[in-house]
């Protein structure tokens, strides 16, 4: 193993331990690791954005010697407008334009996508015969139909949750909580695998106690 690799492993181990030391309490090692992590990542993203956006997406396309594109100038002008807030209140309002453009364009682009994936297909999948197949199938189908219906009742904001409607909403929140519980357990297990990965690094790559 080269000395660069060895140095890298020791550095990674030191940072891992420094960050994990936060579990005990806030301390100088954590503060050092935090400052380096934040500073280096901010610098990394600055450089990444510069080369990806200003250079590749704007400069190379706008100043293409064969066929220069006009579209990148739109992004450039919107970007420059963002900076107007640095030059006094008189022109600072111009910085709202790029924000409005981003929010409006995103809403338009994603509206149908979300409507199809989060609404139409979900409703379509819920419409199925309930009393069909084995006992397990029947229970599963009833739970899907009832859970979806009661969940929708819970998120209905035009009526108070009282009486039968309130009862259905309560059932809906129970369905949600059971789902959250299952999801919590699943995700905790996946986080355990991340922790095992770090332990594997510390005891394997760094300390060489395990092969």
């Amino acid at each position: 193993m080269s000395w660069e690799q060895t140095f890298g492993i020791w550095l990674a181990a030191a940072f891992t331990l420094g960050i994990v030391s936060f579990l005990y309490r806030d301390n100088i090692f954590y503060k050092v690791c935090e400052a380096i992590f934040v500073g280096s990542s901010a610098g990394y993203w600055f450089v990444t954005y510069f080369w990806d956006n200003l250079y590749r997406k704007f400069y190379l396309q706008a100043f293409d010697p064969v066929s220069p594109h006009i579209a990148p100038w739109v992004g450039f002008i919107l970007g420059v407008l963002m900076l107007t807030r640095l030059f006094g209140a008189k022109i600072a309002w111009l910085s709202r334009w790029p924000l409005a453009f981003i929010i409006g364009a995103t809403a338009g682009v994603y509206m149908m996508f979300y409507f199809v994936s989060n609404a139409m297909l979900q409703i379509g999948a819920s419409i199925k015969p309930v009393f069909v197949g084995s006992f397990g199938d029947i229970v599963s189908n009833v739970l899907i139909a009832a859970g979806t219906f009661c969940g929708l009742v819970y998120f209905f904001f035009s009526k108070e949750h009282k009486g039968v409607f309130g009862g259905a909403a309560r059932v809906g929140i129970w369905f949600l909580m059971v789902t959250f519980g299952a999801s919590f357990g699943y995700t905790v297990m996946s986080r355990m695998s991340l922790m095992l990965g770090r332990l594997d690094f510390l005891f394997g790559d760094w300390l060489r106690l395990i092969s």
């Binding site: 139409m120 959250f180 919590f184």
Partner: protein
Amino acid sequence: MKDYHRPQLLFQIFILPLVVILSLTSALTAQEQPVIPADSIIHIPAPTSNVVAVDYVYDRGETVELTWNLSPDDTIGGRIDGYELTRIEQSTGKMDTLEVIPAGISYYKDDKLTHGHKYAYLIRSVYFGAKSSPVSSNIITPSIEIINWRLANLFAIAFILCGSVIYFIAHAKKGKKLFIRKIAGLEAIDEAIGRATEMGRPILFVPGINDMDDVQTIAGITLLSRVAKVVADYDIRINMPVSRSLVMTTARETIKEAYIGAGRPDAYNDDMVRYITDEQFGYVAAVDGIMVRDKPATCFYLGAFFAESLILAETGNSIGAIQIAGTAQPAQLPFFVAACDYTLIGEELFAASAYLSNEPKQLGSLKGQDVGKFVAMIAIVIGVLIATLAELTGSSSLENLSEFMNRLFTIVS
């Protein structure tokens, strides 16, 4: 003596094993060759018939559907490898071999055409390199259709939903009151700010890690305007670390407006909102540090969160802060529900935003979405009933109705 035996020894050691190895290799290689049926050498497969090219409707004039009858050798003897397709552009006479469609399949969708051009297709049956005579299709010109009627159901439902939203926005703009039920989490917001005031400790507001192009971040910023108003009124310290530059800009403007509204513009400070880094876990490390050092009385997590949700909520819990969270990320909601005092679940985040802003646009949108949910509930109840009855009774009319309900919510592009 040794000289006489040398050639023999050479033969035994090198030549003989070499010959054996070569023989074995040759035999193995021969086994790996595909077994060619004896009759295939002379067997020319029978051609297909009835090759029909049809313009694919409701597209941008780039697609043609091709169908044909299987070769008799495919259906009876199974002596077909596939069908070789060739496209001919009529104006230039350019011929492109497309691909060999496996035996048993009699359909092909060619979606690399130019609208307005004329095309024809040739199909040859192929069997071990032997090809039948080509069978030609009709000449077809793919055309553009402006409206995709396959998506008529999507249009109808979207029309109802968008129409409801526009109607209720217009209704709210006229000053008519739109009823929205009380959202429990909103009372908790006031209580949490009050606690920070009593304790004389700051408030931490985390708007998630997505940019302003995420509707959850926008909802979080709308709730920030409410929080900032109370903060400005009671002169509480607010700390808002952000991971996106656009969010920083918007949040600063929101808080500044709240301070101006409270008549205390001098009390506003740009440092209330600080950019940390775009890096997810770098940001989390910094926010955790801020939490344990500043010990805020109240933490708000309102926006789009990912793997950092539990790290933030656990740290906030460890310092004894009141925590109010809200996100529409299904995978992160369990963590907030487990670790926070109150959680705005999914659409409650947007509803809370509309409720607090009292803006006609937001209120109207929320009411319009309620119409959509009502339609969904009715569709599920009716659809499930019809599908179940159709299954139990076997009635063909009910089956047709059930099929219609399914098609209503199926997207065919």
